[in-house]
């Protein structure tokens, strides 16, 4: 890319951080949440007060100074489990989302750019998958593959391919008929060059927005699968799984076992949703807000 092009692209990508930009607070608060959870996951060994898989001796103790989030039915410190629980969800969701992006984006680009029979077939397949309830599709795949972290990644990545495909295909369709693409082709740019140099830079912002929003959704799907027992087994800490472990103790009033893990699911999903929402507003051309 030319120097000037790099500058334009950079300006567009970092526009959300320009002080006067509208909706900036959404991106900033979303980023703050995500960075906070990332730090929890990276520094878990140093932050967590107890071993997340070992009993502390106090069983079902309510929140106190010693155990800020209480302890569970096996005497494990809930705060420590919540901190360590961030690891599985982040790993599963990031890997799965990167996988679905690296399948969905190229397919969407090719389908939108070349059109024809391939486009019709792919679109029909992706639309059908998109119409099917995502969690149920993920459950079906996870049930067949068996419960494990790796299989959950596969299940979740399959589910989100159509999301990327549909958005990228739509964008490619609208950009390929623009004048500068026509001009590039007239001047002899091949398919690969047109796609990589003229179309791709113009959909980067879309990819970033779709990524943030689908990660937010994937977090809820991961937590759902984990809650239903398709991801981890005892004693691995994971928010969704811990929530289901606390369910039998709810009628007796042990609220702390469910409140904190579930809250973390919402906070993390909210972080990515805020980034996605804020960015989609900031990247939109002025008239379309």
């Amino acid at each position: 890319m030319e120097n000037a092009e790099v500058k334009t692209l950079a300006r567009r990508l970092f526009k959300p951080l320009i002080p006067e930009a509208e909706g900036r607070w959404m991106v900033i608060s979303g980023l703050a949440i995500v960075i906070f959870v990332l730090l929890l996951a990276l520094l878990a060994e140093f932050i967590a007060p107890y071993n997340p898989t070992k009993s502390t001796g106090d069983v079902l103790a309510p929140p106190s100074l010693k155990h800020p989030m209480g302890t569970d039915n096996l005497g494990r410190d809930v705060l420590s489990r919540v901190i360590f629980g961030s690891r599985v969800v982040l790993m599963v969701v990031f890997t799965a989302s990167l996988l679905s992006m690296s399948i969905g984006v190229p397919l969407g680009l090719i389908s939108g750019y070349f059109g024809g029979k391939l486009d019709r077939t792919l679109s029909m397949l992706m639309d059908s998958m998109y119409a099917f309830p995502s969690l149920i599709l993920a459950i079906a795949i996870a049930a067949v593959l068996g419960p494990s972290i790796l299989n959950a990644m596969v299940a979740i990545s399959v589910v989100y391919v159509p999301t990327y495909f549909r958005m990228i295909r739509g964008q490619t369709l609208s950009i390929k008929s623009r004048l500068f693409v026509e001009a590039a082709k007239a001047m002899g740019a091949g398919h690969f060059k047109t796609l990589s140099r003229y179309i791709l830079p113009n959909i980067v912002t879309t990819i970033i927005v779709v990524f943030s929003l689908s990660v937010a959704d994937a977090i809820l799907t991961e937590a759902g699968l984990s809650f239903l027992g398709f991801i981890v087994t005892a004693p691995t800490p994971d928010w969704g799984y811990d929530l289901s472990a606390g369910k039998p103790y709810l009628p007796a009033g042990y609220w702390w076992m469910i409140t904190f893990p579930g809250m973390m699911v919402m906070i993390l999903a909210l972080g990515f949703a805020l980034i996605g929402e804020g960015l989609s507003e900031l990247y939109a051309p002025r008239g379309e807000r």
Binding site: M129, I141, G146, G240, L243
Partner: protein, 336 residues
Amino acid sequence: MSSLKAYIITRALLVLPTVIILLTLVFFILRILPGDPIAAMVGQKVPPEVLEKMREEAGLNKPILVQYISYLYDIFRGDFGRSMIWGKRPVINEIADRFPATLELTIFAFTISVLLGILTGSIAAFRRGSKLDASMRVYSIVAYTLFIPWFGMLLQMLFGVYMHIFPIGGRIAPGMEPERITGLYVLDSILTFNGEALSSALLHLFLPSLTLGVVLSGAYTRIVRNNLIEVLHQDFITAYRARGIRRSRIAYHAMKNAFIPVITLMGLQFAILLAGAVLTETTFSWPGMGTFLLERIQYRDYTSVQGAIVFYALFVAVISLIVDIIYALLDPRIRY
């Protein structure tokens, strides 16, 4: 009217390819992915001759193409096979027992989500730019990110465990089930004038449908707000204002026009509604399709798992057809 008829017929015919793609997808996911679904579901501990018998029962020992054709043929005849556990009942009967519970839950949740969405969205639109507008915006994002089992359990804790207002699980108090006509407890108890059953069914429905309804309402808040703002800027509204027509009447006309895109969203939200119902049913021990699917995965009842997923696929296709027809009835532009 003839163009409407033509539209409906074309749209109905288009359901067929969608259904076939979905059924093919289900077929491949359940068969091709790991090689052998029965072995994957049953685990390694089963002796090979038992495994072989189970494969035979599920028709998995035949060539894949034969399996595929007989699978499609059976589904189109309404034959979903027989369950592999307990009484080995036809899967379609098992589904018929469970489906009304899911339908009842989704109807109530859907109604709550649309009403909440219209309420919050129109508040935001009529008070555009105010603090109220901003807080409705936050509501729409937060509602979407609520984790269903967590939100459901918090409601159970508050209204069930502490305040004892609503039961925390099940569809109705044991032994109170109304005589079965449709399988929808609320409707059946009204049809049989069974007041006790009606109140018990409604009490049990409240928390699960509120949970699912709130989570889904966020998307409606946003679309109602944006459409209403757009409509409020159109010329006919200005003309009404100039003529001094009452605000409530203007609001009525604006809402009517803003409602058409909401119907499209209803179609799109339907898949999310069904997925959310699986988690809601698990949280509230609701005996519907979602708990049926999970229970049969646990019992490794392969034919029932396949039947349940196929049923979901058919259901999604039918609903999208219905939504499109409603859309065409409301908006004449679609038909051409």
